[in-house]
Every structure is written in structure tokens, then in C-alpha cells.
């Protein structure tokens, strides 16, 4: 399908405002002006509507396809939250308004939503306080790492290292490095953190240990109490990557379990859609001892129940975002939490774990599951066995696309060969899960009898497998044809 630039017809009228009475050159010297076209498209409204409607039909999304993409929690996102976030009383608010004299009075409803959301997240996680500013999970990790640094520096003992298990999501070590830390990786044992391996590297230069619970293999970290003990003794802070919180709502509270910092991915656990890559929202919760370091600004509620923003926190790490984070995303999560309530959230995790274990059992004669025990919200199978026929996890993924499923995660975790990471979520019906098993069964049977049929996939989509090497070499990243 040609690009929107190739469709442009100079002079065709779009959604134009009225003609100005003046020209910019009446006010601004010519030397400071552009003086030539930007070559943006000139199209009718219908041209544009049709172009993007057609593009949309070339996508799989949760609304149209089962999307068991492990680690990403691609569950159904309720529609009413979209309307809530678009209410003009929220969407028209200027972010600088609270900084005006008397400006707090222009936005009391927004401040109340922020305050309430922080309170709800505290109740859900058992943390002492939250900031809503980070705009995605990785941004929350960086915020957390900066707070850990501020804490140790304030205690007079700046430290240099952060420990991440080898099963950690790639953003964990990347965030720690960007915050200025040296990253120490530890090998997992039986799919989880080995306390002995941790103890061996836990010296007095370790500022913190980053964990994901359940970890990226979908396994609960059984040695958690021992790990907490070790970290306490070494004055290392314990960080919880909460991207997988969908597994433990109502079953484990991060704060009660002894963690100092947690980030949540509202765009996973709390029902906000992923948008084809964002926007997300990655609030960070902290234990009592890290409160002074939270980013500025913070929402404050006075005795009379009035809300305001406060900026005077001398020990704060500063501003991780210009304003209050992705407010529009947070609104959807707030509405989602109110809708489900405590019991609903607990059911979310129960059913997410139920579905994952159901699929794990139904598939266990077909695929190897390296750490085959009760999983949490997801599990990681391996297509190593299929390799003897020349069929790889990638091929199975592509064959699933042909049958109308988005593929599971296959590029990660790096510690399982030919990983197939499956996360069904709580919102998919048993019928969908059963149909998925049937189709996967058929694919794996074909992998034995006619592997070429699998390695040729996909054949039903707008394009077949694309040449990534050519893309990297040619580096055609803008349209010079249209």
C-alpha cells in the first residue's frame, strides 16, 4: 500500500482553518522564515480516513485477535475508560495551570484523581507513597534507581552497583546503567534467583537488587524472604519490577514483603491499552524511608480536604517529567480500579493464573517447559525439541499469525533457548484458549510431517517474512519516494 505522501495531490483541500489576513513575513524577517514547502501531504478528509482505516486493517490488536504475548499482559481494555479520559473537564486542562497564582482552584478535580489513584495504588501494593510521574515502566525503573542513589548518598554512603538476575527484562539493567550504576548480573538456578549466588556478589557497593516477581519465566521467587534478609544486612535496597503485578493482586503486597521500590505498568495490569507501543504509565511506589526522595511535584491534601501541589522537597531527586506523568493514561487506570474494586482485582490475578496453568497443562505433551511447575500468570515453553526438524520458535510464531493469533513472546527471556512465552490473561474465554491449543497442536504436528509448511509462514498476511538485514543496511527510514 502506497504511503500517505505518495497519495498527496498538491492543492487538494483538507481540514483547513480560515485564510489569515496577514502573512508571517509581515511580522518576521525573511531570513528567519522557512521560505519553502515542508512537503507534507495535501489530501481530502476522505483520502486520510481511508488511508488510515486501511492501515488499521493490517494490524492485529486485542480487539480483533487473541494476543498471548508474554510479559506484556495484552488483556481486554474496557471501552468506557476511553470516554472517561476524554472528558473535556480533564482533557482541556493546561499542565501549567497549577503553577499560576490561585491555579490549584482551577484543577481540584484533577488533583483529587491523582491523590486518590496514589492512595489506591498504596493499598494495592502496601507501599507508603507513590509518584505518578514516570511515563512507562522503564521510566519508573530509572526513577527508582535515582531514588536509590539519592537515599545512599544522603546516608553518606554513595554506592556503585545494582544487581539484576539474568532473567530480568532488558529495561532493568539498561535503567540501572543510565542512572550511573555498574550492573552486576547473577545466574538463576531452577529458574529463580539463587540466594547463594546473590550473597556472593552482595558487597557494600551494592545500592540495590532489582527483582521481577513473578519473574519473567512466570515463576514465583520462592527464596524471597531470604533475599529480603540478605539485602537488609547489606544495606541494599530491594526493587520490584511490577510489570507482572497481574499475577499477584490481592495475593502478595510488595510493601508487606519487604520491598523498598516498585514500579507498576498501568498499561498492563490496570487495563489501559498499549496503543501499538504506548503511551504507558509507570507509577513508582516507595517504602517509608524513601519518601523524601520522591520526584517533585507531589499532591497534598490538607485537613479541610483541599488538594494542592507541593514543590518544596529539598531531598527530592528533582523532576523526572515536566508535569504529572501521563495523566490521561492514569485516569483510565483509576476508572478501571474503581470499577473492579478489591475483589475484582483479586479475581483478575486468580483467573490470569488459572488460564496460564490451564494452557501450560494442555500444551505440556507438545512443547518442553524447562521449569515445569505451577506457574503464575505466564509460562515459558521451549521449541528446542522442534529444532531437529528445522522448525524454530520463530517459525511457530509466524504459523500462529497465519491462524489469526498474535504470537507469544519469542525474543526473550534470553536464558531459555527457543523461548515461547505465553500469557493468556484473565479476559480470554476457555473457548479461545481451547481453539488456540487446537491450532497450536496442528502447527506442531505439521512441524513433524511437513516442516516446510511452517517455515514458509506467514502466507495469509499482507506481507510474508520481511528482510530485516536489508532494512538495516539500506536504512530507508523516511519516504523519499512519495
Amino acid at each position: 500500500m502506497s504511503t500517505v505522501f505518495a497519495k498527496s495531490v498538491p492543492g487538494r483541500e483538507g481540514v483547513w482553518p480560515e485564510k489569515p489576513r496577514t502573512e508571517p513575513v509581515d511580522f518576521i524577517p525573511e531570513g528567519l522564515l522557512r521560505g519553502r514547502d515542508a512537503n507534507l501531504p495535501s489530501l481530502s478528509e476522505l483520502d486520510v480516513v481511508r488511508h488510515f482505516t486501511r492501515l488499521s486493517s493490517k494490524n492485529y490488536g486485542v480487539d480483533s485477535n487473541f494476543y498471548p504475548l508474554g510479559s506484556c499482559t495484552m488483556k481486554y481494555n474496557p471501552k468506557f475508560t476511553e470516554e472517561v479520559a476524554a472528558l473535556p473537564g480533564f482533557s482541556r486542562l493546561h499542565p501549567l495551570a497549577p503553577q499560576l497564582p490561585g491555579g490549584g482552584d482551577m484543577v481540584p478535580g484533577a488533583l483529587e484523581v491523582m491523590y486518590e489513584t496514589e492512595q489506591l495504588l498504596c493499598q494495592i501494593t502496601g507501599m507508603a507513597a507513590f509518584t505518578l510521574h514516570p511515563m512507562a515502566g522503564a521510566h519508573g525503573e530509572l526513577t527508582g534507581a535515582l531514588m536509590m542513589a539519592a537515599y545512599h548518598a544522603d546516608k553518606g554512603h554513595a554506592k556503585t552497583k545494582i544487581i539484576c538476575p539474568d532473567s530480568a527484562h532488558g529495561t532493568n539493567p539498561a535503567s540501572a546503567a543510565i542512572a550511573g550504576y555498574e550492573v552486576v548480573s547473577i545466574a538463576s538456578k531452577d529458574g529463580i534467583i539463587d540466594p547463594e549466588a546473590l550473597a556472593a556478589v552482595l558487597d557494600d557497593q551494592v545500592a540495590g537488587v532489582m527483582m521481577t516477581v513473578p519473574n519473567t519465566l512466570g515463576l514465583f521467587e520462592r527464596h524471597l524472604p531470604r533475599i529480603v534478609e540478605l539485602c537488609r544486612a547489606a544495606d541494599a535496597l530491594l526493587y520490584y519490577d511490577g510489570a507482572n503485578l497481574n499475577a499477584i493482586l490481592g495475593k502478595l503486597r510488595v510493601g508487606d514483603a519487604g520491598f523498598d521500590v516498585v514500579h507498576l505498568n498501568l498499561h498492563k495490569t490496570f487495563g489501559t491499552p498499549h496503543g501499538g507501543g504506548g503511551p504507558g504509565s509507570g507509577p513508582v511506589g516507595v517504602s517509608e524511608r524513601l519518601i523524601p526522595y520522591l520526584p517533585i511535584s507531589r499532591v497534598f491534601k490538607d485537613e479541610a480536604g483541599r488538594f494542592s501541589l507541593r514543590y518544596d522537597y529539598p531531598k527530592s531527586i528533582g523532576y523526572v517529567a515536566p508535569f504529572y506523568g501521563n495523566f490521561g493514561v492514569m485516569l483510565k487506570a483509576y476508572a478501571y480500579i474503581l470499577r473492579l474494586g478489591g475483589e475484582g482485582l483479586t479475581r483478575v490475578s486468580e483467573n490470569a493464573v488459572l488460564a496460564a496453568n490451564y494452557l501450560r497443562k494442555r500444551l505440556d505433551d507438545l512443547l518442553d517447559v524447562p521449569f515445569d511447575r505451577t506457574c503464575m500468570h505466564e509460562f515459558v515453553a521451549s521449541a528446542e525439541r522442534q529444532g531437529k526438524n528445522g522448525v524454530h520458535a520463530l517459525d511457530i510464531a509466524k504459523a500462529l499469525l497465519d491462524r489469526g493469533y498474535h504470537a507469544p513472546t519469542i525474543y526473550f527471556p534470553l536464558i531459555v533457548k527457543e523461548a515461547i512465552m505465553i500469557e493468556p490473561t484473565e479476559t480470554e474465554s476457555k473457548d479461545t484458549l481451547d481453539a488456540f491449543v487446537t491450532d497450536l497442536r496442528e502447527i506442531l504436528a505439521l512441524a513433524e510431517t511437513n516442516p516446510a509448511a511452517i517455515t514458509a509462514a506467514p502466507v495469509t498476511l499482507p506481507v510474508g517474512r520481511l528482510d530485516e538485514t536489508r532494512a538495516a543496511r539500506a536504512m530507508e527510514i523516511t519516504d523519499d519516494l512519495g
Binding site: L40, V48, I178, G276, G277, F327, G328, L345, V463
Partner: protein, 444 residues
Amino acid sequence: MPYIPHTPDEVREMLDVIGAASIDELFAEIPAELRPKSFDVPPGLTEMEVRRRLERLAAKNRTDMSSFLGGGFYDHYVPSAADMLLARGEFYTAYTPYQPEASQGTLQAIFEYQTAVARLFEMECANAGVYDGGTALYEAVMMAVRHTRRKKVVVSEAVNPIYRIVLATYTKNLRLTLVTVPHMRGSDDMAALTQAVDAETAAVVVQNPNFFGTIQDFTSLFSTARDQGAVSILSGYPVLQTVLKTPGAMGADIATAEGQSLGLPLSFGGPYLGIMTCRKALVRQMPGRIAGRTADASGRTGYVLTLQAREQHIRRQKATSNICSNQALCALRALVNLCLTGEEGLTRQAALSIENAHYAAMRLCCIPEITLLNRDLPYGNEFTAVFPINAKKIVRALADEGIVAGFPLGRYYPGLENALLVCCTEKHGRDEIDRLARKVEKAL
């Protein structure tokens, strides 16, 4: 339970397959001592109840005021078709396009978005966007630091002060030296900036129009930077870019921007869009996702995420950035908005905004004792007016009249307590501006 489809019978069947007696058994791995002491999240509500509650909260906010508040975040008109197209679940319920064959819609849109912003800024390369304009500027500085292996960063004080605080927050532990060059009555001090750029400098960072609204040409500064081996970074304003001399034409190496003005609601600060563009020589330092054009085995054109070896899921702690989820849907919105308004529409938006701002400045400056902070240099859709009294007093007085008069600069620029930043867009009518002037006069 809403959104959870399993009936009790189905739950039973699933448990039987698993071989578990109850759902609780599935959580046996979590030691009893770690089970929550409490989980007192309030009980759930119906959809109608939640909506009512949020409608009530939304109604407490004041959005009926006539507003001249900008500061980098602007209320431009958004075509209705943009909202309709963005509501398509095929776009907004997809994940990052890891499986390109099933994500050609998202990928082609990213490619088109990259093209549109690269053309706007006349730069060679663009990525799929980062969180917002502030973090885009920080990422640009880190690109320069990696590229030059130098540690000194020269920043004009006329760059958005909030962005400068964000930059300071992120670089605190990285042993960088941030040198802030003071502004001169709302303009960038070219001589001082040029002098500050030396052979140790990783980057020089400016904004156009700057935070005061002033428009300048940075060609000569950027040329000095090039001679010194430093990277030139310009933070711009996309709507005006159809009209203003571009960062590319001035010789910038990296241009960033807050993309909010391209069709995103103000939404109390987010979600917004960090636009990042650069020269080819720097593209491997650029963070975030990049879509590239390629073909399948039968020669059909398609799009993939490319240069992924820069990213955290491959490089872990050696990645160019930790960014993973970004603002993809906001980038799509910006693209759709650009296509709907088109070249002519966007140019008109810019021209109307500039026209309205000049009308407003003219009306205000007719009032005795009100002047412009900088009377020599041109401005675009935003200008800084200086009053005989504290600008906060003006803002307070006009708030009572239902007008947000602008942004008082004293908060970030000590000494400029009497200065007010006033912005216009194509949405302001002349009568609205006349009313602003009348009420300001009354308040003095």
C-alpha cells in the same frame, strides 16, 4: 466479574485439567507469611457509577476560561476525524510491532510519522518518538555525550526552564557539567553561547522560538559548535515549523520537540509526544524505535523495526537508552492530524497563531506602561509582556473575569516578576483578545 468470562463450570473444568482442587492451590508457591495483611481496596462499582464519579470530578475543574496560557503547550484545533480514526481498536489495542507481518498498519504509520517530522524539521532521520519534549531533550544531550565522549553541556537559559530541571535531574550522577548561559531580555545571548562552546563541549542546547517566544537564527552558533566538534541541539515547536527557518537549515545536528501541539489534547500534561530527529551520522546513537522500509521474499514492500541492536531488549545495560514503551499512539495522532490539516492547513494554523499574537501584543502595548520584554527581536505565537506591577497580580485579577492571562515568569526567572508570557493560537478570536486587553487595562 466484568471482563472475566469464566463460568464456575469452566473454572472447574480448567482446574481438573491442571489437577488442582482450587484456585487457591495455584498460589501455594507464595509463602503464608508473605500473604497480604490487608487488601482493603474499596468494593467495585458499576460502569455507570464510575462514570458519574469521574464526571463529577471533571466538573470541578475550570475549563470554561478564555486562556492565553502556553509555555510550550498549546491548544490548537484538532479535526474531528482524528478522534474517530484514533478510536480504532486495531491501532490502540496492539502492542509494539514485534511481529511485523501482523503489524504493518502500525509500522507503516511510524514510517510515515518519521517522514513527516523529518520533513517538518528538515532533518535526515527521525525515530518513532519518546515520552515527551523534555525527555527528548535529555535523550538528545545523552546522544551528544556518547557521540563526542565529552562531558560539558552548554544550555541557554532561554530553553524551557522545566526541561532544564528535567535535564539536571537525570544527569546529576553522570559527572556532566551543565553550563547555563543567561538570557538577555528574553533573547539568547549569542556571543556568550558562542564563547561557552569550546573543545570540551559535547553539546550546545537552544530552543526556537525560545521560552520567551523570541525567534532567532542559530546558524552561526551551530557552525562554531561544528568547528569545535560539539553537537548542536535545537528544541522546536512543530506547528510553527512550516513557517520558521528549520533546524536543518540552521545546521542543527539534533532537533527535538514537544509534539503535543500536533493534535494532542492538553490533558494536564500527558500523554504527549517527544519528537526526535537527527542527522544520519548520529542515528545509531538515537534511542527508541525506528521503522525502516524493506521487502519480503516475493518483493512486496513492508516495514520493520530496524537498528534494534541499539535497544535494551538486545543490548541490556549497553543500550543507547532504557526506553521500551513510548508514545506510539500519540505519534500516530500527530501523523493523522498532520495529514488532515495538510501542508496548507498547518501553514495557516501557524500564520493565524502568529497574527493573533501580534494583534494581542499590539493591543496590550497600547496600554500605558506595558511593553514587550524584547522590542528588537521577532516572536511567533507567544510573547513576553512587561507590566508596571507583578504579573501574578494581573493573572489573579483576570482569573476573576474568567481569563487565564498567561504565565508569570518570576517563578523561573528571578528579576522578571513583572513579566507575563502570553500565547495565541488560531482558536483565539479578535473579540477574545480585545476582552483580554480591556480587562488588563482595568486591572492596572
